[in-house]
C-alpha cells in the first residue's frame, strides 16, 4: 500500500499522465503484450498444430478482398495457415527471444560493469578493453556471424530445433557492452559516496556492498537502456530470421514470416509480408518511443557510446 502511494505521488506517474505519446505507446504495448501472453486463447487457430491448417487454403487474400474467406480475416500464408494467428504466435516468439536476450545482455553487462567499476585496477582495464573491442564491431554483424557459425556447427535440422534458446544466446552475447559501460560509469560515481564508505567502516563484506548497496543505485540507467535494447533485440531477431539464420518457417517469428512472404510478393501476395511487417514496425516504434520518454523523465547521465 505504501509503495502504491509513493508511486501515485511520484514524478514518473505525473509526467506519464501529461504525455499523450507515452500514454498511447504504453497502451499499445500493453495490448500487444497481453495478446502475446494470451495467444492460445485469443488466436483463432493454433498454428503450431499441423492438423489445423490445409495447404489448399494457401495464399487466401484478406477477408475484404475478392477471393477472401470469412474464416481468415487477414488471409493465409503459403502453407494455408491463418495469417492473424501466425502473426500473434510470431510476435510471441519475437517477444520471447527479445526479452530473453535482453535479460542475458543485462546479466553479463551488469556483472562486467560492476566488477570492473568497483574493483578497478588491472581487472578493470582488461574488462574495459574487451568491452571497447566488442563495442567497435556492430552488434548485428556479431549476431550474424555467431548464428552462421552455430548453424554450421549444429547442422540445419538441430539448429531449427534449438532456434529459440540459440537465438537468445546469440543476441544476448552480441550486444552486452552498452550495459557494461553504463553500469561501470554509474558504479564509479557511486563507489566514493558516504554510504559506501559507511558500509565499509562497519565491516560489511565487499561482495555484499557491491550487490546490495551499489548495484541497486545503478539500476535506473539500466532500466532506460533496457527498453531500447528490447527494440534492438527484436529487430536483430527479425533480421536474422529474414536472412534464414533465425527461426524456421515451421515455428515462424515475424522475421521469418516476412521472409516467406517476400518470395511471393512478385506474384501479388502482398499481405503475407505487409501485415507482419506493420506489426513489427508498430511494436518497435512503440518500445522506442517509450524508451525515449523514460530517458527524458529519469534523465540519468547515460554513457552514450
Amino acid at each position: 500500500m505504501k509503495a502504491w502511494n509513493r508511486f501515485k505521488n511520484s514524478y514518473l506517474l505525473y509526467s506519464f499522465k501529461r504525455d499523450p505519446i507515452a500514454i498511447l505507446s504504453f497502451s499499445v504495448l500493453s495490448v500487444l503484450v497481453v495478446i502475446c501472453i494470451l495467444a492460445p486463447v485469443l488466436a483463432p487457430y493454433n498454428t503450431h498444430d499441423t492438423a489445423t491448417f490445409d495447404i489448399m487454403d494457401g495464399e487466401t487474400p484478406p477477408a475484404w478482398m475478392e477471393d477472401g474467406s470469412k474464416s481468415f480475416i487477414l488471409g493465409t500464408d503459403i502453407q494455408g495457415r491463418d495469417l492473424l494467428s501466425t502473426m500473434i504466435y510470431g510476435l510471441r516468439v519475437s517477444l520471447l527471444i527479445g526479452c530473453g536476450a535482453v535479460l542475458l545482455q543485462a546479466f553479463v553487462g551488469i556483472l562486467v560493469g560492476l566488477f570492473s567499476g568497483y574493483l578497478g585496477g588491472k581487472l578493470d582495464s582488461f574488462l574495459m578493453r574487451i568491452t571497447d573491442i566488442q563495442f567497435s564491431i556492430p552488434y548485428l554483424i556479431v549476431a550474424i556471424f555467431t548464428s552462421a557459425i552455430f548453424k554450421l556447427a549444429f547442422g540445419v535440422g538441430r539448429y531449427a530445433e534449438l532456434a529459440v534458446p540459440l537465438l537468445i544466446i546469440i543476441i544476448g552475447v552480441s550486444n552486452w557492452p552498452i550495459y557494461a559501460r553504463t553500469v561501470r560509469a554509474s558504479v564509479l560515481g557511486e563507489k566514493n559516496k558516504e554510504y559506501v564508505e559507511a558500509a565499509r567502516v562497519i565491516g560489511i563484506s565487499r561482495w555484499r556492498i557491491m550487490f546490495r548497496h551499489v548495484l541497486p543505485n545503478t539500476l535506473t540507467p539500466v532500466l532506460v537502456i533496457s527498453t531500447i535494447q528490447v527494440a534492438e533485440a527484436v529487430m536483430s531477431e527479425a533480421a536474422l530470421s529474414f536472412l534464414g539464420l533465425g527461426m524456421p518457417i515451421t515455428k515462424p517469428s515475424l522475421g521469418s514470416l516476412i521472409r516467406s512472404g517476400f518470395e511471393y510478393i512478385f506474384s501479388g501476395s502482398w499481405w503475407i509480408t505487409f501485415f507482419p511487417g506493420i506489426l513489427l514496425i508498430i511494436f518497435i516504434l512503440v518500445v522506442l518511443l517509450l524508451g525515449d520518454w523514460l530517458r527524458d523523465v529519469l534523465n540519468p547521465k547515460l554513457y552514450k557510446g
Binding site: 567497435s136 564491431i137 554450421l152 556447427a153 533480421a239 539464420l245 516476412i258 510478393i265
Partner: protein, 324 residues
Amino acid sequence: MFAFIVRRFIQAIFVMLVVSLVGFLIQHQIGDPVRDLVGERVTPAEREVIRDQLGLNDPFYVQYFRFVKNACRGDLGLSFFYKKPALEVIVSKAPATIELVMVTTLILILVSIPAGIYAAIYPKSWFSRIVMAASTVGVAIPVFLTAIALIYLFAVELNWLPSFGRGETVNLWGWESGFFTWDGLKHLVLPSVCLSSIMLPLFIRLVRAEMMEVLETEYIKFAWAKGLHNRRVWFVHAFKNTLLPVITVFGVQLGILFAFTILTETVFNWHGMGFMFLEAVERSDTSLLVAYLVVVGVIFVVINTVVDIVYGFVNPMVRIAGTK
C-alpha cells in the same frame, strides 16, 4: 601522441589475433577436411596417413601458427564450392559491395547535410517537423522492410526500376563496374536508397544537433553582430565547425554500413560480399566463411584504427584519457 598510436596498433593486432583464432577454430572444429577430400569410402588407417600429411595431427599452436602465417601471405584456404582460393572469390565480389557503399555514401551526404542544416536553422518550420518525425519513425523500420516496400512500389507496381541483380556491368582492369552503363546505374538506385535509409535518420539528427549547438556559440553571435550576410554565417562560420564530429561518426558508421550490406544484398540479389557470405553459410563452405570473417575483421580494424588516430590528432582529450 606516438605512444597513443603504438597503443592503438597493439590493440588492432590483438583484435586481429582474436579474429584469426575464431576463424581457425571454426575451420578446424566444424567439418572434417579429410572427409571433404576423400569422401566416406576410405579406411581409418588411410585417413590417419592423410591427416598426418596434411599436418592435422600437429599440436594446436603449430596449426594455428601455420594458419596465421598463411593468412598473412593472403592464403585463406580454398573455397569448396568455387574451387578457387577463398580470397580470390571475395576480391571478385568486392566491387559490387564497394560500389553499393559508395553510392550510399553519396546519397547520405547529399541528403543529410542540407536537411540537417535546414532543420537546425528553421527548427519550427513544417519541413523540419516532418523531417524530424520521419527520422523518429525511420529508426523503427527494419531495412529489409524498406527494401520490400521499395521493390513492391517501384519494381512490381510501377515497373520503373529493376529489383534484381546488378544489370549490365563493364569490366575495367578487372573491376566489374556498374557505373558506366545506364542499366547498371538503374540497378543501383533501389539498393543504395534502401541502404542509405538506415543511416539517414541518425545523420540528419547528428547534423542538426551539432549545427544547433554551434549556432548558440559566442563567435556566431559575434558574426551576426558584425552584420555578416546570413549565408556566410551559416555555411562558412557555423557549418565548417560541425564537420568534425560528423566526419568521425561517419567513419565509424561506414563499418556498420558494411554489416547492413548483408541484408540489402540478400533482398536485392546483389552479388556482392554479403550475398556470397550467406551463400557460403547455406553451402557449408567453411573456408569461404572463415575468409570472409577475416576480411571483414581487417576492414573493421583498419577503419576503427584510422578513425581513432585521426581523432587523436584533432582532439587531445582522447589520447590523454587513454593514458591514465
